[in-house]
């Protein structure tokens, strides 16, 4: 009896979850629905609240009548969780989240014919594998950039040239050890940073891609992270907390986003950033449409807006990222300039190892350690295992 009941409950739940989501793409854009909800990284959707100069929402709302609400997510895992939970239209997903959402049927294909500015998108991004599966597009490129090494200019007389300052104990130019004064990202994807470092310093491991690691390569990366745990007093998972820690906790070096560097510099904190010799991991974010989006028309309007407006230009200044529309660097519709784009890494596209989800059946190796092991093992590393 009890068994039957549980089975009944379970099957009704399953039925409910299967019933959701059709995969047909839209064929035309209708009237806006008056609302639009977006899951985004911190600093990605600004309406002038932090700095009145950076506002690319108000104009959109005025033009389309679609009122934008933003839910900030701090990690890719959180984005996937929010989209699985539902109730959102768009998500600015990085490559380590996008494929998982496509596989989970949480996002729907995009009809690029409905986005007039699609042609302006950087050719290197148009068919990028993190949003294009079997030739079907599941999103519109938003912004990309590197994970830079942020450092305190008082602790470092010269810009560090290697990620070693966050992985290995050294004495900095202010005469003190880096122990306790460096941070690392509180997300399993940080294992790739370790793998990237090893790729450079231990070539005999044979790492070809920091997201595709065999068991041995993976173990080596974890060992490096365990060594890093001795140096890190607290991991950062939120841009603003990291900003706080650099101000109030005496942090001097960490993997970071240009966004934090910009904000800290704006507050006259003595920091700078660099892409060290090992190269960097990075993110290439795609605006993806939820399979059950309640406001698809507004969503399409936004995807056009994000490509055609000053958003690409201003956001790339604000966040320190590279626009997906190269012309945004030069056409003067926003604040960005060619120099700015170059500084943010426009030319380094090929050196950046963009975030993607590690899977067991990987291309470069026979069998790789899948993402869920990254998740649990990284919790273990932070916990001291």
């Amino acid at each position: 009896m009890k068994q039957t009941f549980i089975t009944a409950v379970v099957s009704s739940i399953t039925a409910a979850s299967v019933a959701t989501g059709s995969l047909a793409q839209m064929t035309e854009i209708g009237e806006g629905e008056g609302e639009l909800s977006i899951v985004a990284w911190a600093g990605y959707i600004e309406r002038g609240e932090t700095d009145p100069a950076f506002d690319w929402v108000t104009k959109f709302e005025e033009e389309t009548g679609c009122m934008v609400s933003v839910k900030t997510a701090n990690t890719s895992d959180e984005m996937v969780a929010l989209m699985n939970e539902g109730g959102f239209d768009l998500v600015t997903a990085s490559g380590d989240a996008s494929l998982r959402m496509i596989a989970g049927k949480r996002v729907q294909p995009i009809n690029i014919d409905l986005i007039p500015s699609w042609d302006a998108v950087d050719d290197r991004l148009k068919d990028a594998p993190w949003h294009t599966v079997d030739g079907v597009h599941y999103g519109t490129p938003y912004m990309w950039g590197p994970n830079v090494l942020m450092y305190n200019t008082e602790a470092f007389a010269e810009a560090p040239t290697s990620w070693s300052v966050v992985f290995e104990e050294t004495t900095l130019s202010d005469g003190q050890s880096n122990a306790g004064r460096v941070q690392a990202y509180d997300g399993p994807i940080h294992i790739a940073d370790a793998a990237n470092y090893l790729m450079h310093h231990q070539p005999d491991l044979g790492i070809k891609d920091p997201y595709e690691l065999t068991q041995d390569q993976y173990n080596a990366a974890l060992d490096l992270l365990r060594q890093q745990r001795e140096l890190v007093s607290r991991y950062w998972h939120d841009a603003f907390i990291q900003i706080d820690d650099f101000k109030n906790e005496g942090m001097v070096a960490s993997g970071s986003w240009p966004f934090q560097v910009n904000l800290l510099q704006a507050d006259d904190v003595k920091v700078a950033s660099v892409i060290p010799e090992e190269g960097a991991t990075g993110w290439a974010d795609t605006t993806m449409l939820h399979a059950d989006a309640e406001h698809p028309n507004c969503a399409y309007k936004w995807m056009e807006h994000q490509l055609s407006s000053n958003l690409q230009s201003d956001l790339s200044v604000w966040f320190g990222a590279v626009p997906s529309v190269p012309s945004a660097c030069t056409d003067g519709r926003g604040m960005q300039t060619q120099e700015g784009c170059d500084a943010n890494g426009l030319a380094q596209f090929d050196q950046i190892k963009f975030w993607k989800t590690p899977v067991a059946q990987c291309e470069s190796q026979d069998e790789c350690v899948p993402y869920y092991r990254w998740v649990s093992d990284y919790i273990g590393v932070i916990g001291g295992r």
Binding site: S37, E85, G87, D238, F240, I243, D244
Partner: protein, 268 residues
């Protein structure tokens, strides 16, 4: 035998303990007036009142505050209703399962908030209930019941059972008895329970994060500002105001229960 005068060591220990409890809160008051915007610099480089004006003009603060007040008010009313009924049943009659009922009432507060929170969230997701103000209220009312219940049970126990019999003996039916005898006698206990429930709901954050969806109550707003500071001085001001606002019902509850043996904070 212990003398009537406290030993010096005890005095020191008690005073140190109380200082430990109070200094951090007083600190927040000082920070609300600081001119320093960016860091935690201490002592404050200067004092200003400007942040009160800035806070006053922040719509998000007002929205969060009004949501908090709304949630706390409705939750309190529900909790007062349920808690009083439950207290009346448990204290008036002995029935099978009485212990179970009191355990059921206490459970939402005896188990960690994170358990209550995620349990409610799972239930909402299984039952396909979208997040709204009402899902917050559902959670808050659930753990506020025990506060009202505790206060009401204590009062019912102290109230002689023969009062109700006397009223019925004098011709009043159950509803007249309720109106003329029971309610006037438990009124202060209910008001106190209600005030404490309001204060508890107003300050709750752990369960709320799981049941709130995209809405922000004031504590959620505070939490958001703690981890994602935008204008730290505004947070300082709100923090001070929140402390002062929660103090009002607590002081009220204290003055109403003064001279009785009830301890107002029990069961928070």
């Amino acid at each position: 035998m212990l003398s009537d005068r406290a030993p010096l060591s005890l005095k020191i220990a008690a005073a140190a303990g109380l200082l430990f409890l109070h200094l951090p809160i007083l600190l927040i008051f000082a920070y609300a007036f600081t001119t320093e915007e960016k860091s935690f610099a201490w002592p404050p480089p200067g004092l200003t009142l400007k942040w009160f004006a800035v806070t006053w003009n922040r719509p998000d603060v007002w929205e969060a505050l009004s949501l908090s007040v709304k949630v706390a008010s409705i939750s309190t009313v529900i909790a007062m209703f349920l808690g009083t009924l439950c207290a009346a049943a448990v204290s008036r009659t002995r029935f099978f399962g009485r212990e179970t009922v009191s355990l059921l009432v206490i459970l939402p507060i005896a188990l960690p908030g994170v358990v209550t929170g995620i349990a409610l969230r799972s239930a909402f997701s299984i039952a396909d209930i979208p997040f709204s103000t009402w899902t917050i209220i559902l959670g808050h009312a659930t753990f506020c019941v025990v506060i009202v219940y505790n206060n009401a049970v204590a009062r019912f126990r102290r109230t002689s059972g023969s009062l109700i019999e006397a009223s019925m003996d004098l011709g009043a039916n159950m509803f007249q008895t309720l109106r003329h005898v029971i309610l006037p006698n438990i009124a202060t206990a209910l008001v106190v329970g209600g005030m404490l429930a309001f204060a508890l709901s107003f300050d709750e954050v752990i369960v709320t994060t799981f049941t709130a969806g995209q809405q922000q109550t004031l504590p959620i707003w505070m939490l958001e500002e703690l981890v994602r500071p935008r204008e730290r001085p505004v947070t300082n001001v709100v923090a001070m105001v929140v402390v002062l606002v929660t103090m009002l019902p607590i002081l009220g509850a204290y003055y109403l229960t003064r001279g009785t043996d009830q301890v107002a904070g029990q069961g928070k």
